[in-house]
Homo-oligomer: 359 residues x 2
């Protein structure tokens, strides 16, 4: 039996469903991955009850971290951070901080999860603001890494540069893309090509030593033009949800067209294998598990509405991030970036006051 | 025979293709609509040659407006506006300004089209900045009107309010929605709910007398939660292109799944009617024809890559806007808005300095 060397702390109570999703997903994951050990944060009795219902591996695969409180989906950041100091979220992050876990995961309230993670773990040197990154399937059969998805609404050029370095590190370390290509989300032929922040960010990115492809537009996300796309959190959040919305609409329409009369239903039955393959390719449950980047620890966010299958994919993201050394790799990438910017400032390519990524 | 009372000026030279798209589309439209007369702006000889190839109606349905220059797709606004004063774009807009046409349309360079239209026609009282609006199909079987789509990158709360009034007028007058519902595009549960501009815009919208539903998120576009969605031009442009990109990706994948082996191809053939119906429902050619709102004249923008079928839909948009009195209706709506804001300021609901929509 391999050593149980990857330890994941799970906020078992978070999400729209909570325990009936998180526990079965952890059990199934532990069965498939003999190297993984779970720290289950939450109400001990409720966790034990849920564990009874699932058949876990015979090995010693988990430990319970008691937590007396639960952050609700509509709790404010204030409440989550100041009033619920014994929440399952807080306990899961604390396990990473204390070195007892290598990664932590929650399907709860995104704002609270980000705030608690940031408060407990702090940001990496050179990073002002953590960002949320996820993968979006593209027509090339791969996935495009996109960030920020909602942690930062108002961004400076330097923040976008920080997102770029973190996103590139994620794509190269976890998705094994050598020198991932990087695009800056912008608008096209229309009246004004981008605002000031985006223009300045492009300048910094050209000097960054990253594999900067240039500006990309909205349709480049699904085209897979670049490996990583950077934008501010307002744009990223709206775009991600728009994409999910249109995919859902097309799925609904497709279902509608294949159920509207007997002939359509018959052909739909025959076409089922092809339609199922399509469904699997765009199934966003397979892309569950956004990474909260820029923190001194690996933190993963699952969709609140995830089922056990989707939550399993988010656990997989946590596992891969630990296995591939995301944290050390990101730290090294930031050091390299700083050197590139110092060189660029010395060569007069960028202003001196932009020579450090942190503001 | 009905009176030919709707006059549309067409930039015949604009777009990726130009004459072979614009002329056949105008011919076909004139055949279907006996009330429409065209003013064809461009190179007279080239227009005549193209007209020879198409069988127009027997009635006197067109007039040629000679123009010696063409704005190219990559011409800067500067070049289009200052150096090409006899362009087909300029001549088409001028026809509206001179009262010879009721609307004008181009498939050319968006930035140039907007700049020329604004320069020649000027904005309506109470409107600082024109905006670009289009319809996006939603799962309810209708369409969501969205603006701005790229004319304005940096917006204040008052600009968003102006977009709201113009978009509502468009939806109520052209799409015949009584008191169209209005949403402000924002981000959801994440860390910070919207930036300052969006928060202030919500306050103004609540005082505006418009049918303001509140904040909406990206997935509400295709859900059809509201009739009109307002956002700044950067976000709108990126979202529109993202949506087009994901729809195209799913169409490509669908084609791929139905051609990968003999069985799939056979079922694909049987399923063709259902698949074609789906294609028609999401065919963005049917939604071609964005409106440039806030100008003292009706100005329509067709996709640059439109074929004659798509350009015909854009002509239809122009026709409907004239027929339903979009311009007068918008002017009345702005007057009503001003009254509402004055009342709200008098009642202390909004600050005094926000009581006029124009900044």
């Amino acid at each position: 039996m391999p050593a149980t060397d990857i330890r994941i702390a799970v906020d078992c109570m978070g999400g729209d469903v909570g325990l009936p999703v998180t526990i079965p997903a952890a059990v199934a994951f532990a069965q498939r991955n003999a190297d993984t050990r779970f720290l289950l944060a939450g109400d001990p009795a409720a966790i034990e009850a849920q564990l009874q219902a699932s058949q876990g591996p015979t090995r010693d695969w988990y430990e319970i971290l008691p937590a007396s409180e639960v952050v609700l989906m509509d709790d404010s950041v204030e409440v989550a951070l100041r009033r619920k100091k014994d929440s399952s979220m807080r306990i899961a992050v604390q396990a990473v901080k204390d070195g007892r876990a290598d990664a932590c995961i929650s399907a709860g309230n995104t704002g609270a999860w980000m705030a608690i993670s940031r408060y407990v773990l702090k940001t990496l040197d050179g990073i002002d603001r953590p960002a949320i990154a996820t993968s979006i399937p593209n027509v090339k059969g791969g996935a495009t890494t996109m960030l920020d998805l909602g942690a930062n609404v108002d961004c400076t050029a330097q923040h976008l540069l920080q997102f770029a370095i973190m996103g590139s590190a994620l794509a190269s370390i976890v998705d094994h893309r050598e020198q991932p290509t990087l695009g800056l989300l912008n608008i096209g032929e229309e009246v004004i090509k981008g605002n000031e922040v985006v223009k300045q960010a492009a300048e910094l990115l050209r000097a960054s030593g990253l594999n900067f492809h240039g500006n990309v537009e909205g349709d480049d996300i699904c085209k897979g033009t670049v490996d990583v796309i950077v934008c501010d959190g307002f744009v990223g959040n709206v775009v991600l949800k728009s994409i999910e919305g249109v995919a859902r609409m097309i799925a609904t329409m497709l279902r509608g067209e294949f159920t509207r009369d007997a002939w359509s239903m018959a052909t739909g039955l025959l076409a089922k294998p092809a339609l199922n393959r399509l469904r699997d390719r765009v199934d966003n449950r397979r892309y569950n598990g956004a990474a909260l980047l820029g923190l001194r620890g690996i933190v993963i966010k699952s969709h609140g509405s995830a089922d056990a299958y989707a939550f399993g994919w988010a656990l997989q993201r946590a596992h891969e991030a630990v296995q591939n050394g995301l944290l050390d790799g990101t730290t090294r990438a930031i050091d390299n970036l700083r050197q590139s910017l110092r060189d660029a400032a010395a060569a007069g390519d960028i202003p001196n006051d932009l020579s450090d990524p942190a503001t």
